[in-house]
Symmetry: C3
Subunit: 344 residues, 3 copies
């Protein structure tokens, strides 16, 4: 499946400057550690610079500062990591879309599937739904009524999209993701719970990627919104009426409660929790495993989380966590006595 | 899909008192902020009372104390939030069940599907399973052998129910949920693990709702039980042999270890963890992101979790968490010296 | 479905010593608390020893030290818990494989399904994939191109395996698991994100078990690896390029970031987080809900996590967590004054 390319062919397509022998055929991309003579490696993190001397790679992608740090054939790019990403894509072009509806797919007569779209076996497309040109609907995907899938989108197998949800162009959704299930809304009444019908939908912008088994709930009255270019990892929960800003990335196992607004260009680590009804401004980074309990209005990095320790040490320390207030009072009392004495 | 209703029609169906113009047609429900003249809004939280003066809504649902706080047409209800829930349901009645088995469903000859039940395309229903009247089995659901689904239950697309599990009447299960997979039970033997067959099942009471991609494992010997009226959000793990009490609600991303008993009318936040083999009594609230490490025998609210801080501040503080015991000793020593001195 | 067995028949098959009446028929396994006269119970944890006097069980499995602690018919085994596991399996033998491809399965002409394998309704098997003898592919499983499933493996319904992934012999995968979705790899470029094609795969060793809705991402360049005998619970995220060592067990809701190496024979609790690019040595135990922020090089048990408290108490204590550094400075200052004074 992988192509063969020379350095010259790569820079013709991706730009950058090729230095040294540019005509030798390369068969793929690998790390500096594992690359062989037929492969191209990359140096994106300066702490691995010393590997340039020992790598067996046939070529390397480097930044301008490392232009002369390597003797081997190389490509110089302002952004070697992004260049690496695009080089991998050259060697591994995506499989072409095979337009058509599989005979075992179940597409409603009232659905509108573009002639250039691909719908695989056992997929279900409900009435009023539309699938754009170049989109792929994988096996076993279930699209309800009135779902819209943009041009060039890819739904991997086993994705559910509930009624009325909208996915932009080039969206990628991985297997098992569920888009548009009911938000978790209930009213208490006489000791039991009355379900609040969730009549908003989910609106997903262009170029969003959604990981495996991630769930994005529909809104109660208004929509839940994922803006363009946002990237969500696996097993993330986005509750009803959240707005996730453009180009924000969220790592796996994070849970976002209802009606949270996350700004643009944020980076949210894995296993993070956000309580409901708060706002996070643009350009915020949240460390993994942090609980955010109120709105953040200043860009920056935010963290909680107790450092881990050997268990015996933790037992000795943790007991004081329950008594911090007492400890602080004791310190204040002693320091007060101290101050009085020093004032003598 | 949404109906048109007047205040008079709403109170005829749901009770409460209509005040002011009761004959104008309304087309839906919206928030005080977003409602237009043809929509009805609601005031359930007193902190939004001032919005009554500025809303463009055509009508509003209020509590008895706000009967005269609004000039616009209104419904007075003892529980405006529950009234709102029921009003949304009036405007958005659930789609009617379309009884019948889709020709592309795969229903075993030994299964018993009520004539009033709906089984959608590509659903699989195993031998000995029974589907009650008015139940819907969504596309791509897989029900094993001897599964029982109660009257009026809704399984959204792509739900798995393993052999022998029982779902009560009016249960709702969202897409991707897995009910009855094997509990995580193993015995160590000579450095490897011997699987303990999980021969209990899962028993789910009436009116339970289970969120998308939530997993509820079958019991090892006895059943895992979810009692009536419990509501579980998305991406929750309920391990083998748990009992979740009636009308308890659990928010997303929470994990409940094996053989835990949670009482009735509890409220468990998101991202919570409960260690195995403990009991939580009735009427307990657990804050989001809290780890519960032992049984709780008194109703109340319980919390753990480190407050988040700017990362630089966290670095300065977190180092002391590893030295709390040392710090406490220093305080005791100083306070002791102090006490001795004061005793002088 | 369950068999009837005598103590004599059990020890004939599983070893151990039968003591007392060995010919009475038993119908199943139960706990000491719930077993009736026709059932066999087990005592694996010495703290339940007193139940031997009160159990209604017809027989019991005990360790050598409890050989004479019970009067009822018994089996003495060096490892009563593992013996219990195997006894349950005797009473509940797995359903036999029914070789053949269901007429509603969609198996590519270029796939290689062993004549002794079972492929259920609506399963999809892509070109170049191979299914070993005695393997079962449940309903609605989707196997991409070039997937390999080993002999005797069981894929429960609704499992996705992306292109090129390999599953060893006797692997068990529960419903909703997703193996081989793209790792979460992106390069930032001019404020947006460039996807890094993930061209590694996932390689899963023999006798691995993977829980419901767990996700294991494919590697960026090299493979993600789960070694033989590892056991993963539900809703776990294993990111790209991780290596999980042989016979390691991981409880539910745990998230493992990219390029983490976990050793062999580790035990990782539920809700744990591991940051990226670290290594955990063999024989490490990590308590539930712990965040591991750096490599661990010594076997042992590691913990973090704040103990839970009644909420009011937590409010009093948590405020000091933001001021620990200040508190520690106050203690040092006071102790310093104190030392000076004592030096007087």
């Amino acid at each position: 499946m992988a192509a063969t390319l020379t350095l010259r062919q790569i820079v013709e397509r991706l730009g950058g400057e090729a230095v040294g022998e540019v005509g030798a055929p390369l068969t793929g991309v690998a790390t500096l550690d594992s690359a062989g003579p037929g492969e191209i490696a990359f140096l994106a993190n300066p702490k691995y610079r010393s590997k340039l001397a020992t790598t067996r790679a046939g070529a390397v992608i480097v930044g301008p500062g490392d232009r002369d740090a390597a003797a081997l054939p190389r490509i110089v790019s302002d952004n070697p990591y992004a260049y690496y990403a695009r080089t991998v894509a050259l060697f591994h072009p995506p499989e072409p879309v095979r337009p058509g509806i599989h005979p075992f797919a179940q597409v409603d007569a009232q659905a509108n599937v573009d002639a250039g779209a691909q719908v695989d076996a056992f997929a279900v497309v409900g009435p009023g739904s539309s699938i754009g040109p170049g989109a792929r609907i994988g096996s076993h995907c279930v699209l309800g009524r009135g779902v819209s899938v943009g041009a060039g989108a890819t739904l991997h197998p086993r994705v559910t999209v509930y009624d009325g949800c909208t996915l932009g162009a080039r969206v990628i959704v991985h297997s098992g993701a569920v888009i548009g299930a009911d938000g978790f809304g209930m009213a208490r009444d006489a000791g039991a719970w009355v379900k609040i019908p969730q009549v908003g939908a989910v609106s997903i912008g262009d170029d969003v990627e959604i990981g495996a088994n991630t769930t994005i709930d529909r809104g109660a009255l208004d929509d839940t919104v994922i803006e363009e270019g946002a990237k969500l990892d696996n097993l993330i929960q986005v509750a009803h009426n959240c707005v996730i800003g453009a180009h924000t990335v969220i790592a796996g196992c994070t849970g976002i409660s209802g009606s949270v607004t996350v700004g643009r260009h944020c980076m949210i680590g894995g296993g993070v929790g956000l309580v409901g009804h708060i706002s996070i401004c643009d350009h915020v980074t949240i460390s993994g495993f942090t609980l955010i309990t109120k709105s953040i209005t200043e860009p920056g990095t935010y963290t909680s989380g107790l450092p881990f320790m050997p268990h015996a040490e933790w037992l000795r320390n943790a007991v004081h966590l329950r008594r911090l207030d007492e400890l602080a009072r004791a310190v204040r009392a002693t320091a007060g006595d101290e101050r009085e004495r020093n004032d003598d």
